[in-house]
């Protein structure tokens, strides 16, 4: 039986798809830069006081729209905004709702999409019909429109006391219309996976449906989903800004980048470009970082595209 103790196979290329993806991504300069940007933004959302010592709620109308000092020094390093609040402080404190909203929406959408997608794909039958029909219905209503509809329903009904309350309504509206893409991907991946031999093997061993779904199908289904997550986060940030420009979404006096941008666009034409440029710069940088990250991730997870 000597032939059965086979020599060690290709030893170096160990590790799974994920660490493989991680390895390729780590080497890409664009990913490194994007990660740094995201780190910076997340830090700003988590610890605003590290970046500014001013209170964004102290505003004097008389001081409104003071341009920043030459070398970003003085009392208001980035000047004041249209309400006379310290602009740097507003900008920094506006990060948290933006990021919190984006992250919570993505988590909710992914969870809902994954669960529905797996259920629909795995069980098929009437459950699949039901979920697919819901997909159809929700896809037919464009996200922004749907969000507008939901948001106007709850105008002024909620206070903006805490972070949770500030983002609650936009969160609801965006998540409600954000899960479909993930559901579709998951469903397709589940349909594909559930007939794979290793899933059949698990079934043959007597594994329960839950075990099969979560242990064997989920890890597969999650790949296409993860690949689009960063890009989608970017999209949510942009949508939030769009909602703010339309006057719905996060409601003042609470701030978010979107709120700042919607004010900034108004004033930019009047010569107060900095009110526009800073939030826009931050937004583009962040969205771009997410998108770049997502692009790289997708490549890394889909070796065919390399």
């Amino acid at each position: 039986m000597s032939e059965l103790t086979a020599p060690t196979p290709t030893a170096e290329r160990q590790a799974s798809l994920w660490s493989d993806a991680f390895r390729t991504m780590r080497k890409r300069p664009d990913v490194i830069i994007a990660s740094l940007v995201l780190l910076f933004v997340f830090a700003m959302a988590a610890f605003p006081s590290l970046f500014t010592d001013q209170d964004p709620t102290v505003c004097f109308g008389r001081d409104a729209k003071q341009r920043p000092g030459t070398w970003f020094t003085g009392e208001h390093p980035l000047g004041t905004d249209a309400f006379g609040c310290d602009f740097a402080a507003t900008l920094v404190h506006g990060t948290r709702p933006t990021i919190a909203l984006a992250l919570s929406v993505i988590v909710a959408s992914v969870v809902v999409g994954l669960i529905l997608g797996i259920l629909a794909g795995y069980y098929g039958g009437w459950l699949d019909t039901l979920i697919s029909r819901a997909l159809d219905v929700f896809i037919v209503i464009p996200m922004l429109m749907g969000a507008v509809l939901i948001l106007s329903l709850f105008r002024g009904r909620v206070s903006t006391d805490t972070l949770a309350e500030t983002i609650a309504v936009p969160f609801l509206a965006l998540s409600l219309f954000g899960w479909m893409e993930f559901c579709r991907y998951t469903r397709a991946a589940t349909l594909e996976t559930k007939n794979l031999d290793y899933v059949v093997a698990a079934k043959c061993l007597g594994a329960s449906d839950r075990r099969i779904m979560f242990k064997h199908i989920l890890p597969n289904a999650i790949v296409p989903v993860t690949a689009v997550v960063p890009t989608t986060i970017g999209g949510i940030i942009v949508t939030e800004a769009a909602l703010a420009v339309l006057g719905i979404g996060v409601q003042p006096p609470a701030t978010s980048w979107g709120v700042l941008l919607s004010k900034g666009t108004e004033w930019a034409g009047g010569g107060y470009v900095y009110l526009f440029a800073w939030p826009l710069g931050l937004l583009i940088l962040t969205v771009f970082a997410f998108a770049t990250f997502g692009d790289a991730l997708r490549d890394a997870l889909d070796p065919k595209l390399r």
Binding site: R133, V148, L149, L153, T231, A242, I284, V287, A291, R306
Partner: protein, 336 residues
């Protein structure tokens, strides 16, 4: 094929029915929660005479008591509405008492024009870029194309539009008019606002800008599908047949790459409608997106329902066309 189309249409009808009911329920809920929009009829800050208010409510079918009970699905008005729709009566608006059917006749063509330019831009640009990137896979050009499109996608469309309107449009228009005159094509095309006298010319630029939505994903799609086909076995066969690269690309790659591209366009359509809300707002285009948005804002329930139903019909219709196009392009997909 005929049977398939009928089946798809039935399915679409079902979807539309659900959409319609959901919308009706949401607007009913909105009336129930937010209060009666009939007040709007009286404009400003004035308190109308209760008798008059009641009259107006009656005029718009908002007098049913179900609108006072939060959560009531208001089935009776829903049935009425469906009946009216079937008869081709889409009702009137609260603000201005205008016939919704006539409004649609104005708004839909504008939005369609916008979409035409947007789609052309999107397909043309992403085709060129995607093919180019696929050709130079892994090289500098490939990375540049992807980086640029991602960047273009990261800038929200409405910001591009706003920058255009506020910064570029006026000087450009003035410059063009100095050279070509006001009434010329060039004198109009850069105008910062839509002008109904030049319904095609003044919608080109907003169309092009909307067309940049989804540029990155479309380019990526095209690049991927071309790469896949370029590396496929049948391209290898074609090479073995001694065909020229150009012929291989035209005959054996492009048609095969069309399938994912068509899917992409199908999805983008719903996406573009969202883009239209902002674009039409910024550029003053009287189109569907803007109409629906304002209808929601003003609680023009009927208009919201009609508008979104139209958009739903379009989306469903587009997806049907996409499916039929598949069959045309791909003989493997046969529908009996």
């Amino acid at each position: 094929m005929g049977r398939y189309v009928i089946r798809r249409l039935l399915q679409a009808l079902l979807t539309l029915g659900i959409v319609l009911f959901l919308l009706h329920y949401l607007t009913a809920l909105s009336v129930q929660i937010r209060g009666n929009p009939a007040l709007l009829f009286f404009g400003g800050d004035r308190t109308p005479d209760p008798g008059m208010l009641a009259q107006v409510e009656r005029l718009y079918g908002l007098d049913n008591k179900c609108y006072e009970r939060t959560g009531d699905p208001c089935l009776a008005p829903f049935v009425d509405r469906l009946q009216n729709f079937v008869q081709g009566d889409f009702g009137t608006t609260l603000n201005g008492n205008r016939d919704v059917g006539q409004l649609l006749a104005i708004y839909i063509p504008n939005t369609l024009r916008l979409f035409i330019f947007a789609t052309i831009t999107l397909v043309a640009v992403s085709m060129v870029l995607g093919t180019w990137a696929a050709r130079h896979r892994g090289k500098f050009i490939d990375h540049t194309v992807r980086g640029t499109t991602i960047l273009a996608d990261s800038i929200p469309v409405f910001l591009i539009l706003l920058s255009y309107v506020y910064i570029v449009a006026v000087p450009l228009t003035r410059w063009a008019r100095d050279i070509w005159g006001t009434e010329s094509f060039m004198g109009q095309v850069f105008r910062p606002n839509y002008n109904p006298d030049y319904p095609w010319t003044t919608i080109i630029i907003p169309g092009i800008i909307v067309g940049t939505v989804g540029l990155a994903s479309m380019t990526r799609l095209i690049r991927a599908s071309q790469l896949e086909n370029l590396g496929s076995d049948f391209v290898r066969t074609a090479k073995a047949k001694g065909l020229k690269p150009l012929r291989i690309t035209i005959v054996h790659v492009i048609r095969n790459s069309m399938i994912p591209i068509i899917t992409g366009i199908g999805f983008l359509f719903a996406f573009m409608l969202s883009g239209a809300v902002l674009t039409e707002g910024v550029m003053g285009i009287p189109g569907m997106g803007r109409m629906i948005f304002q209808a929601v804002q003003r609680q023009e329930g009927n208009l919201v329902i009609v508008g979104l139903t139209v958009s739903a019909v379009v989306v469903v219709f587009v997806s049907l066309i996409v499916d039929l196009l598949y069959a045309v392009l791909d003989p493997r997909i046969r529908y009996e």
